[in-house]
Symmetry: C2
Subunit: 354 residues, 2 copies
């Protein structure tokens, strides 16, 4: 994996990351192909939307169809017919969301599958092994995010465990394995974590434990503080973030990579991102509106369909509605990242609005 910065503006960087499955430009947004599919969208549609890298989920794929099944298919790229770079998460976040169904020990996490109740164990070594079988281009180690607001004792223990797990993950020598920095919104823990992870010289840094419910200003401040502790020569990935505003704030703080379910989840529920703000397509005021979702958008949804038609599709439960709004939102995010990269290069980032 090679990271190159081509331009900077303030703390923001525009560059590229080279992987075994091609190069993607940064700052980059990764749509979530949680179970091996970005909901409702085909790879060719994602490409056309300007998407260059996808995220997929270790937890979901390990349960169904299983990493061995994916490996037999020639790896995740061939399985889902996406030939570009793929980043996989470690499953940590999903496991920690299974409150009451999982038990954390120093060895790892034991949990009941949400599908059939079977007992499954994730250890630092195992999640790297799963991701290697999937054939991921960028891997994430098992970590322990904690809920917001943080209990300092819980945060301390979780960070110690995250670091202990990181040493084991790192020792596996698995592919391009990013280190994850935790520490909630506690500056001293973030600093300790950044130093501990940096000391092992990983190819990139992930900022975990954000977007857990903390107010945006706190998140933005802590992200900016954390990136300030990191070398300029390695990519930074803000996990699970976020809205267009969050992404712009992250870029200004020097973040290079983002992922979020928002564009597809919002699209499926009838909410579109536009240059004029959020648009709720089910709203009655769109029933006779013959304009596209976003007059500033040149994507396939806005080129072909009116708000009146899209509202009708949602109104009569035609699956084309959720699909087209998902496609629109991913196109919006793809264009946002393109605009951000251009603004970093031409020095206009300060005035950029999502």
């Amino acid at each position: 994996m090679k990271f190159a910065v081509a331009a900077t503006h303030g703390r923001a960087r525009a560059g590229s990351i080279e992987t075994a499955h091609g190069t993607f430009e940064t700052p980059a947004f990764m749509p979530c192909g949680t179970k091996g599919a970005v909901k409702g969208l085909e790879p060719r549609e994602l490409r056309a939307a300007g998407i260059e890298i996808l995220l997929s989920n270790t937890y979901h794929l390990a349960l169904r169809p299983g990493e061995d099944r994916v490996a037999e298919s020639g790896g995740l790229h061939r399985f889902m017919a996406w030939d570009g770079p793929i980043l996989t998460d470690s499953g940590g976040f999903q496991v920690f969301s299974l409150a009451g169904l999982r038990k954390i020990t120093d060895e790892g996490v034991t949990f009941q599958s949400h599908i059939d109740g079977a007992t499954v164990q994730f250890t630092p070594e195992r999640v790297v092994e799963i991701q290697e079988k999937l054939g991921s281009d960028i891997l994430m180690p098992l970590d322990e995010p904690i809920p917001w607001p943080p209990d300092p004792k819980v945060a301390r223990a979780a960070l110690d465990r995250t670091h202990a797990w990181w040493r084991r993950s790192h020792a596996t020598k698995g592919g391009a394995l990013f280190g994850i920095i935790q520490g909630s919104i506690l500056p001293e823990l973030r600093k300790e974590s950044a130093e501990a992870i940096a000391a092992t010289d990983p190819p990139g840094f992930a900022l975990g434990g954000f977007s857990m419910g903390e107010p945006n200003p706190q998140m933005y401040e802590m992200v900016a503080y954390t990136t300030s502790l990191l070398t300029e020569t390695k990519p930074r990935y803000l996990m699970g973030v976020g809205t267009p505003e969050d992404i712009l704030a992250g870029v200004r703080a020097g973040v290079d990579m983002f992922d979020c379910i928002l564009p597809t989840r919002m699209g499926r529920t009838g909410i579109a991102y536009t240059s004029q703000g959020i648009l709720r397509i089910r709203n009655a005021k769109h029933a006779r509106d013959l304009s596209p979702l976003d007059p500033a958008c040149d994507g396939p949804c806005c080129r072909s369909y009116t708000r009146a038609y899209l509202r009708h599709c949602f109104n009569v439960d035609e699956m084309l509605g959720p699909k087209l709004l998902s496609l629109h939102n991913v196109t919006y995010y793809g264009r946002l990242m393109r605009r951000i990269r251009a603004a970093i290069r031409d020095g206009s980032l300060d005035s950029l609005k999502p």
Copy 2:
């Protein structure tokens, strides 16, 4: 509307029909865009699958969003972003499916909307008016299909009403309005109906009341009998039919147009049409199968995705599964019709298998 026969083989004909929205080749298959969308598929995908004409449903569109709303959008073609020919049914079949919720009189049909229970009346004049507002290229008159097996008295009364309604429909002078021949599987009624409709010189003939549960041999025999009563110079449309085998039998009996929900409905439920027969993608035997749905298919689904992946999508409820199998099936039907037209032209229709 202009119909031209370019080649024949036995009673089968290959030709074309010219409409205000372009020409389509016959025999033609029309996917169902019931509520103004072919479920899960975009117009550009239908085009690429070789589809040249769509069917849409008067009943559904009249209820939601309403024909006036569609007219305000510039008509159904612009509303759903399909610039090719559209045939609309009369709503008769849907209304007659609402057993217990509708009342038939000589004036028309009064029914309770399945959406909000509102009382709605369809008369012969009104359904033509609705279809004209939709901007349909080929219109269908209100008729009265009856269940199979037919009660001769019910069949007689329904046919008389269908003919009386047809005279009123015909008097509206609405666009390219096909006449519908009814008569269940009773040859004397079919003959009477064919003669009554032909006497009014409509631009085309629809064969209604088939695929109501009657055994295939009875349907094929009665379709062949009915087409034998009709002029060679006008198109024949077998409404709501059917499977690939049904279509081939219809073509051999001289039918030019077909519509059916099967390719999309089967696709959504995980059933694929292939050159090797029906394939149920949820079947466990496909879990490790890296071949495409159909080795003989060059469509976008078979070019990109394995059976293992498609099964996974159904298994984990990814909407991409139903979408891709729908696309595959429509592609299969599109190719079937292309093969049928070619076989009529080169004299090989007798040996063609679906």
